[in-house]
Symmetry: C2
Subunit: 259 residues, 2 copies
């Protein structure tokens, strides 16, 4: 994507994500939250612009949170908010924002209702902790809430729960113009496409053009993805790209019009 | 994982990864390289300790590369080494390391052999560019090489190609003691496990204990993952954990002994 599309415009709203968890870094668990958030944020006009994956380590979490919350309008974290000793996200966010860690009354009320006096073990009670001044983020899946403080949204790591929390907060996010995209698939070698595609990119600096090669046993080629906030410019570039691929002797597969 | 396990030991060899590509951040493409590298590096005694996902943006790539190559023994990058205008990794690495960008003779020879004089388009010729002083990394899958310079290894984004490149360089990596792991699955609520698990962790500071809850339509519980470099300590902690779960009234599913 060209710099003019990827974020130099002052009206671009950006977000970052910190994925917290040794199990992601070890390869044991495959993260599914990045693709979900990338797609949904873009639909809301927010560009996911940077992601960091860090271990369950206090210094690493604090450093990543502080670096990214200063650079982006929104910061999301996933993981580390359960009841066990390795769930340290709440205390790390409190440290990063220099707030006291408190038992949040709204979170406590939810846990009381969910678990009852006998079920509310010390471990579960940990899940009521937030930095002072936080507001809870509702969890329609399994009740135990996340929280937000400033521009930092602290969500669960389990994808179904993370998605439920995100959808319960999505209405609060204020985005810019959504980045529209459309794809043209060309069964041509990327090396042949490179020069004419680069020439087309040069004539459309406001339309980001990405080439993503693929190959398998039966076919190969490249998915050419166009992205822009201006629908007319995007469609004009797409029409030229389709003609370009045809002129090279291949019938392009054209995706749906951008949404 | 406890700090004592996750990297404070001076003999721990760590690596970082920079995943380069708008298509990952947009959610269009799901990264498969992180889990592969996390798993394989650990087998070689190298701990993947930090990952950043950045857009196809020069400043962002340079910043991430310079931050991470200074903090870790090894830095890997994936993506952005193809023939099209949005493939800018080579020039970014050159800038980060303050080297000239050259046409590498070994890479050029591979491209000559692969494409011949007619097929070696200007776009494909871009794939011969490396920072001055780099060595090529062989690509057994599709020939076009990656490169390494200093402690930075620049690999393809396509998983099959990335894996081929990694396996061709893996013998060079010098790791520390591999982190052994074993898993005990308990069909118990994580909130009930939290306190006894925390107490067990306190008695085994050299064995990292992570709890990864799961739930589906038919079952729920937590995967309790133990990690340590000392096999005897790991097995001792595992035996205690198995007894702990049984004492709570659930028959644990016990994974294979650590490798």
């Amino acid at each position: 994507m060209t710099p003019s599309v990827s974020g130099s415009a002052s009206d671009t709203v950006t977000a970052a994500l910190v994925i917290i968890g040794d199990e992601i870094l070890s390869g044991r668990t495959h993260d599914k939250n990045l693709p979900y958030l990338g797609r949904r944020l873009n639909e809301l006009g927010v560009r996911l612009s940077e992601v960091r994956v860090v271990p369950d380590d206090r210094a690493a979490i604090v450093e990543a949170v502080n670096a990214l919350r200063a650079k982006h309008q929104y910061l999301f974290t996933t993981g580390g908010i359960g009841p066990t000793h390795d769930d340290i996200t709440a205390e790390c966010i409190a440290e990063a924002l220099d707030r006291r860690l408190i038992e949040h009354p709204d979170a406590r009320a939810i846990l009381d209702a969910r678990y009852g006096p006998e079920g509310l073990t010390p471990g579960r009670l940990r899940m009521a902790r937030t930095p002072e001044g936080a507001q809870i983020v509702e969890n329609p899946v399994s009740k135990v809430p996340g929280f937000k403080i400033g521009n930092v949204y602290v969500l669960a790591g389990i994808p179904e729960v993370m998605q439920g929390m995100f959808e319960s907060l999505a209405h609060e996010l204020v985005g810019g113009a959504p980045l529209l995209s459309t794809t043209v698939v060309a069964a041509l070698p990327e090396g042949d496409l490179a020069q004419p595609l680069g020439a087309l990119q040069a004539r459309y600096p406001d339309v980001g053009m990405g080439s993503y090669p693929f190959f398998g046993q039966h076919r190969y080629g490249a998915s050419l993805v166009l992205r822009a906030t201006d629908r007319d410019r995007l469609l004009a570039a797409k029409a030229e790209l389709v003609e370009m691929v045809r002129a090279m002797g291949a019938e392009p597969e054209v995706g749906d019009d951008p949404v």
